[in-house]
């Protein structure tokens, strides 16, 4: 089977690329903060997991967002992850 896909099906766009490379940076930070705020383990461990998960989270988000069918879906996915992470952070920090 040919693995060469017509360029138009790839739907490369500047906006999606920006979402993957730059937009995912603050979202990855928010994911790390959410983990540090909400994980049900001692503070030292939450802080460790949260702060050291930011870089791997960015790579995972970038890889995921790159596959989005359109720029709108890419930014939407980032918005969804941000909302969940922000909610977890607020709940986690508010409860402690």
């Amino acid at each position: 089977m040919s693995r060469v896909v017509p360029r138009e099906l790839l739907n490369h766009s500047t906006s999606r690329t920006l979402a993957a490379l730059l937009g995912s940076l603050p979202v990855a930070l928010l994911v790390g903060i959410a983990l540090a705020a909400a994980l049900p383990v001692p503070l030292e461990q939450r802080y460790l997991i949260g702060s050291y998960s930011v870089v791997p989270s960015w790579v995972a988000l970038a890889c995921w967002v790159l596959l989005a069918p359109s720029a709108r879906r890419a930014w939407g996915a980032l918005g969804l992850v941000s909302s969940v992470a922000a909610l977890l952070s607020l709940v986690g920090l508010g409860l402690r």
Binding site: S2, R3, G32, E44, S51
Partner: protein
């Protein structure tokens, strides 16, 4: 795992673009990383006055401190530090933006101003330190490396085992460069992943991620975050009332070792020298404990213990000891450092062949201006960097009679590198230029070693000096071998035979191109 064709192509494009954009900066970081691993050894080699063998027993610090204070009054300085290294004792003082470094010369029995900071300069190039905001550029490049590695892993996952072993040096440029890119990339993958992650954290995290965590998770309380991290105590702020007395350093080091049995100090620093609240930090490794960094903070005046940072005290500290210990090769001695250096050079080859694969696949005849620029820039940048680094070693040896050569070495480094990049635009064949620059670099390194051997006066009894000379000679030989090969390829390229022969060869099918 076989990716759907669309995902495969998107990751392929991401891998290629991120790789080609970040490759040149990453090349500098990995190339200089190999030298950074041996910073103390290179600094020792570069400073002939301190070249006799390191003292077997620890050097008494108090007489050195007293004598340095007589020569250059230390009271009021922000910090005076002594660094006992396997290669000898180093010291420095800091006052505001001013910093002066010294090495202990066993023959003279005193601290002498540094003749050259060659090792430190090459180390700082590893994180692009001499470039304005270079450390952030290094961090962004490390992120790019991670993304290129992960996307590369995705696209090659289906045939990873084959890519591990398949190398066909007798084939055309496109095939052998692609094979080399994949073989060295797969072999070095754990090493490169580790450096991508640790490098990004070291370059970016402390100024971006950590402040955000302190502001949110710790509600702005930095000391609470420091406690959670298991950090050692911070030195007290100065009172700005000077008592004009120096601490008894040897007694304080002995006190610290009593507090932490097995501590082998590698950093002894006096903060705010002569101040009423002056303190002394004694940091080091606990013998026999992997990644066992520890330290004691003492009051400079009476030796009271202000705080102890115990080794691997909490989960955070244990993780960071391993995380950063792997980056700095704080394990396995010279064997692991040599392995790291080899992997660093292999990664440089991965980066250069990555650019070559880009050019060979997308524009065999270099019809586009952008690809012609990329080819010449890659050649000049990479071969020029080796030539510039070699020149630093030669300048150091050639000017060893001057009291200070650090500034000249750095000026020569930048000039030669710029000339190397500029020279890449001359001539019809970029490979021939690469060959000439590599041959020059090899000759320059051989000259540096030859001058060192000829002008040495008993210094060759020093095993560190012998080892540095041997490593430089090996690097020079490898550079000459690469230069001869590139020149031969350049001759074929210049005559057009190689390119045309490739162009005339049967084109591989789509599936092969996609690989």
């Amino acid at each position: 795992m076989k990716l759907p064709p669309r995902s495969f192509q998107i990751y392929w494009d991401a891998h290629a673009w991120v790789g080609v954009i970040a490759a040149l900066l990453l090349h500098v970081m990995f190339f200089m990383g190999a030298f950074a691993l041996f910073r103390p050894e290179l600094n020792r080699w570069a400073n002939p006055a301190a070249m006799s063998a390191p003292a077997a027993a620890p050097v008494a610090l108090q007489p050195l401190l007293t004598r340095l204070n007589q020569e250059q009054p230390l009271i009021g300085k922000d910090r005076v530090a002594f660094l006992p290294e396997p290669t000898g004792l180093r010291a420095y003082w800091v006052a505001g933006a001013e910093q002066h470094e010294f090495r202990y010369a066993p023959g003279a029995g005193r601290l002498l101003p540094l003749h050259s900071d060659l090792g430190t300069f090459l180390y700082s190039m590893h994180y692009l330190g001499p470039i304005p905001q270079g450390i952030y550029l290094a961090g962004v490049s490390a992120l790019g490396l991670l993304l290129a590695l992960v996307t590369g892993l995705f696209i090659h996952w289906k045939d990873l085992t084959r890519q591990w072993f398949q190398f066909r040096p007798d084939r055309g440029t496109r095939t052998w460069s692609s094979d080399m890119h994949k073989v060295l990339g797969v072999f070095g993958l754990p090493y490169q992943l580790m450096y991508g992650w640790t490098g990004a954290v070291l370059s970016l995290s402390f100024l971006t991620v950590q402040p955000a965590f302190v502001a949110s998770v710790f509600h702005g309380d930095a000391s609470a975050a420091a406690v959670a991290r298991g950090q050692g105590p911070e030195p007290p702020e100065p009172s700005h009332r000077l008592s004009a007395t120096l601490p008894d350093l040897d007694a304080l080091v002995a006190r610290a070792v009593r507090e932490l049995p097995g501590l082998k100090p590698n950093w002894i620093g006096i903060e705010y020298v002569g101040d009423e609240r002056s303190s002394v930090s004694v940091y080091g490794e606990i013998a026999g404990l992997p990644f066992g960094s520890a330290g004691v903070l003492l009051n400079a005046a009476d030796g009271a213990v202000l705080g102890v940072a115990r080794p691997l005290a909490g989960v955070f500290q244990r993780f960071e000891a391993w995380f950063f210990g792997l980056h700095y090769a704080h394990f396995g001695g010279y064997a692991s450092k040599l392995l790291y250096a080899l992997l660093a050079f292999a990664t440089c080859a991965v980066l250069v062949t990555g650019n070559l694969v880009w050019l060979e696949r997308r524009d065999l005849r270099r019809a586009h201006l952008g690809n012609r620029l990329l080819e010449r820039l890659t050649v000049g940048w990479c071969a020029g960097l080796l030539l510039a680094t070699s020149s630093v070693f030669l300048v150091n040896r050639a000017l060893q009679r001057l009291p200070e050569t650090g500034g000249t070495e750095q000026a020569v480094f930048w000039l030669v590198w710029a000339a190397g990049v500029g020279a890449a635009w001359l001539g019809r064949s970029s490979r021939r230029v690469a060959g000439v620059e590599l041959l020059l670099a090899g000759t320059t390194l051989a000259l540096a070693v030859a001058i060192d051997l000829v002008t040495s006066s008993g210094g060759l009894h020093d095993p560190i000096r012998r080892a540095v000379n041997a490593a430089l000679a090996l690097l020079g030989a490898a550079s000459c071998a690469g230069g001869v090969r590139a020149s031969a390829a350049g001759t074929r390229q210049g005559s057009g035979r190689g390119r045309l022969a490739q162009a005339a060869a049967p084109r591989p099918g789509r599936a092969a191109r996609a690989r």
